[in-house]
Point group: C2
């Protein structure tokens, strides 16, 4: 049963399991105690820190273990912002960061700070020059020198968790260095594949993303970075991560990262070829599909595409029925009413969105079976939603009332009637589903029709105007 | 090799180990996902929550899993304080709470709030009436009704982690109810032995204290308690504990708590008898010992005593050499320069302090061997510190300069010379070790000499005056 959702959580690596079992026996005691059991636990903790720091590329005393990647990000952002309070209160982040970074930014804004989101292009990557301009501040930094911009911290992920696009970390790190701003890199998705290029000031990661156990994050803070841990603290983990150390899991996290790294080059190349196959074949096999994310500068194991006229939750559950576990950034899932902020920031289609992230060991046969099953699943969903029968030609401009209808229905209604107006005529879609704002322009681009624009509709939602070009 | 430090961390219970192994295979995926693996993880998480809530005595939707007991306390305190911000900013805690509660209080005070510590008696328990008076506020609550006291939250541990004394939780809970103040009970030390008496509003606990794995705490918040989680959050654990759930450990925590509870009555009675034996025998076997904590209203497995003229760190390492792993609240350990805040609040001797906390399964033979070894270890340490040879009788009042000498040396110097002054004469000890403030009065009480008082010494530290009575 192929599991294609490694970017959410990878199955436990055998080395993680072995190390965890050994450490359950040897490392359950309190490493702060002086007795035999405590000293044994301390040795394990120190060794895990050495190993983790070496793999991350920092000194052991720069790295602490946190209860999760989310905790590492939250602590890293709040500690770095507080440490540079005197410089200013601006936090600069890319618009496609993981929710943990955005949530830390929301908390900062709620406390009176300023958060600036750097936009991304259609592949999901930030432009280093745009990022650098935000670091210099609104006046280009001319007013009061580099510090005059008031930027306390910048955050950039190493690679995007939803579309796999690698960010230009080295270039942005260089811009941060020039501006005197520390850079926090969220390396959650990439650390198993290799070290983050140098130049970062803080780094956060999460063990269950590389096949380590749940319950362990890494937070590295370079010597010299001003850092003031927030909230109640204690003497553990240099005062940066309170609470009893999750030692067996920490040992397993460090050991498995080392093991995963040893296999990364070969396994990465193998999965990259499988993902290239998916990227090439899906648009051939399934009509009206947009494959998103950078085709080259990307994580080896992850690919995302969106299918017109399909509802994401139904697509997921149909694929699940066929034995494939994937993820979706569509708004049409039970847990959310808005499309993924990543797809929105990229300006790409969100409906029928599928993220495929291959765990290590995925076989060619698994991928072939997925490619064999996908077209039938998509067309099945489309048939049920009734996309097949366009209304006969009318000629006049049309207004389609899709108010109260959830995605992908507004786009389906649009597609049904576009052929009925004359070339040069318009279809106006009234819709109040958030996804329409993204998906109607995306549909126009995919179908080579003109997206004229949207205006607020008197009855709620927006009126989206589309001109028929062909 | 007997391990007598269960109150720091208990060895992993066999049921915890089994459950953890099973959940590593079944519960590594993201319980927020809709696919098969995600749904399986969600089922495990829900079942663990049901089991944990039943054992705690609350509804499943009142309980969240946190990364540690410390996190549960920190989140519980900050969330409850923020939820009742409009009522006031006063936090009332016992003076002998775990450091996690006191650290949360320090953070509250640093943010401008007020923290009141309720004193304890010589056994370590708070007096419910004294606690109730603090809830009513300085003017007895007469000014503006119950809310006029401005108390947002009260905290009381179920039992003390250093001396084992049970607190009068039911009585204090009743006083809190009468005052309209929520009560947070830190049940870390007692939850494995039984449920906390009703009447609490919030409850925190830590799995590795009962033989569960590291990395799991419980935070229960009763429906109706105003609660506003602080810091960046996410959608996991009802927004009260951000970060990917540590699912295998959560499953193991819930399963092991249930297992430990099933054995609690029988194992508790057995360990209680062993501890009674230690409480009775140690003062018979070792001269100049004070056994502290309530002899009856106490945890079954924990006993603490202090030995005059002994330095805690040396005692610990000698016992470790003999194969016994114990803990100490003395100041004479490498990690701290002040005696435990618990012993200080109780006003009992801190030097040569030893906490014995028996894990489940400790045998009578283990305890007998400890009792056989202890006297020789203590007298060995005393011999090396030269407590054996009192100075010949002089008769005049004396001043002993122990400035710069670490505990237990000031008390040793005092004991050496007390016999040399006439009955009715005084010895003045100049000392700047923090522990002297506690240990010189405690020595006087144990040796039936009069402690006259202390005044600041012109050369730093204090001058402690002791009158020879016999």
């Amino acid at each position: 049963m192929p599991y294609f959702d490694a970017a959410s959580a990878a199955p436990l690596h055998p080395v993680a399991r072995q190390a965890l079992l050994a450490a359950l026996d040897e490392g359950w005691a309190d490493p702060a105690r002086l007795h035999r059991e405590g000293r044994r636990a301390r040795l394990l903790l120190d060794a895990a820190r050495e190993a983790a720091a070496e793999t991350v590329g920092c000194r052991p005393d720069e790295l602490v273990f946190t209860p999760s990647g989310t905790h590492a990000v939250h602590s890293g952002v709040s500690g770095a912002l507080a440490g540079r309070r005197r410089v200013g209160d601006r936090l600069v982040v890319s618009a496609v960061e993981h929710s943990s970074v955005l949530h830390a930014g929301e908390a900062h804004a709620a406390a009176g700070g300023t958060v600036t989101e750097v936009p991304v292009g259609r592949t999901g990557a930030v432009d280093p020059e745009t990022f650098a301009a935000e670091l210099r501040g609104p006046d280009g930094g001319a007013g009061a020198g580099a510090a005059g911009s008031g930027v306390a911290l910048a955050c950039l992920q190493s690679a995007n968790h939803e579309v796999g696009t690698e960010q230009p970390v080295a270039e942005v790190a260089e811009a941060c260095r020039a501006a005197g701003v520390p850079l926090l890199v969220d390396a959650a998705q990439s650390l198993g594949w290799g070290p983050v290029p140098g130049g970062w000031s803080l780094l956060a990661a999460s063990a269950h993303k590389w096949g380590g156990p749940a319950g362990v994050g890494f937070l590295a803070v370079r010597k010299g970075v001003r850092f003031a841990p927030q909230g109640p603290s204690d003497e553990r983990e240099s005062g940066r991560a309170p609470g009893f150390e999750n030692l067996p899991a920490v040992v397993a996290a460090a050991a498995s990262l080392r093991a995963v790294r040893a296999e990364a080059a070969a396994e990465g190349a193998r999965l990259r070829a499988l993902v290239d196959r998916i990227r090439a074949r899906v648009p051939e096999l399934v009509p009206d599909v947009e494959v998103v994310g950078d085709p080259v500068r990307r994580l080896p194991h992850l690919v995302t595409f969106s299918c017109l006229y399909v509802d994401g939750e139904t697509l997921l559950s149909e694929l699940d029925r066929e034995g494939f576990s994937v993820s979706s950034g569509s708004s049409c899932t039970s847990s959310t009413l808005t499309p993924s902020h990543v797809l929105r920031a990229m300006g790409v289609l969100s409906e029928g969105n599928v993220r495929v992230s291959l765990p290590a060991g995925t076989t060619e046969a698994d991928v072939d079976r997925f490619l064999a099953v996908l077209p039938g699943v998509v067309s099945g969903v489309r048939d049920r939603l009734g996309t097949g029968a366009p209304v006969p030609d009318g000629g006049e401009d049309l207004v389609v009332d899709a108010l109260g209808k959830r995605c992908p229905l507004p786009v389906i209604e649009l597609a049904k009637v576009i052929g009925t107006v004359r070339v040069g005529g318009t279809v106006t879609v009234l819709a109040d589903d958030e996804a329409a704002r993204l998906d109607i322009p995306a549909w126009c681009e995919m179908r080579a029709q003109e997206y004229v624009g949207a205006t607020p509709s008197p009855r709620g939602g927006h009126a989206y105007v589309v001109r028929r070009l062909s």
